[in-house]
Symmetry: C2
Subunit: 121 residues, 2 copies
DNA sequence: TGATTGGTTAAGCATGTGCTTAAGTATAGC
DNA sequence: GCTATACTTAAGCACATGCTTAACCAATCA
């Protein structure tokens, strides 16, 4: 069982390679076989399989084998974990700027301090 | 001069480590010194410096030294590059589902095909 | 001035990553 | 059954990563 932090590690790690991002970009268009996935990439099939393994580990891709062909599909909700982490940081950042702005405002107009968190008087 | 793809590599790579994410989480609260950054982390200062170097390489963090203390601050627009990549994939994914849905619709009501991209007749 | 604080550099080491080639297995088609 | 196709496994290799300790430098501070 794997915690959130490990999940984020794996997801960002998976995204940190342009071949894997290319594979994902292909997969959002719809499911494909491994060799289809491999075609545009300048590397051997085993190399592609290894990238695929990374993507599957991270949960970004799922695949199943039917007959002799393995079909891969993207798992888009796995992306949202990463997205959420980034969004949270941004939100915190913006809140900080708001607080900062409010504080600077109280410095300009010293008589009416902003609501609540003023060291009053 | 470094291309978009390398930038994404570096950014996602930088995010793919929980210590570095912790550093960023600290930095959205406001600028701090290196040793301040290091305090909550269970590792030596040089190790923290190395993480900091990764974050700076990626453009996610900037720092400057005044006297003997180096102050680090986050560069939030660097995050948006990563965010945009993810968002684009998700958007493409949703468009694909739309097209798929529309197509399935034409199968249900064969007489009026959707606008434009029907293999008509 | 001499010690302390805050950071930096260098070296070394274990482990991980991204690839390769070579050989193997399991369908699918003839 | 024989062969081509579509992976799959294994081994090996170069280089990157994440850490460590030891030594070093440069601003404060007593």
């Amino acid at each position: 069982m794997l915690n959130q932090s490990t999940r984020l590690d794996q997801t960002f790690q998976a995204l940190a390679d342009s071949s894997r991002r290319a594979m994902l970009a292909r997969l959002v268009q719809g499911p494909v076989s491994v060799s289809e996935l491999a075609r545009p990439l300048a590397m051997s099939l085993p190399a592609v399989m290894q990238h695929l393994a990374v993507l599957e580990e991270s949960g970004l891709v799922r695949s199943e084998k039917i007959g002799r062909v393995r079909t891969c599909r993207i798992e888009p909700q796995a992306l949202s974990l990463a997205e959420q982490w980034i969004n949270q940081r941004r939100t915190e950042w913006e809140h900080r700027l708001d607080r900062l702005g409010a504080y600077l405002e109280t410095l300009k107009n010293p008589d009416h301090e902003g609501d609540s968190h003023g060291k009053s008087k």
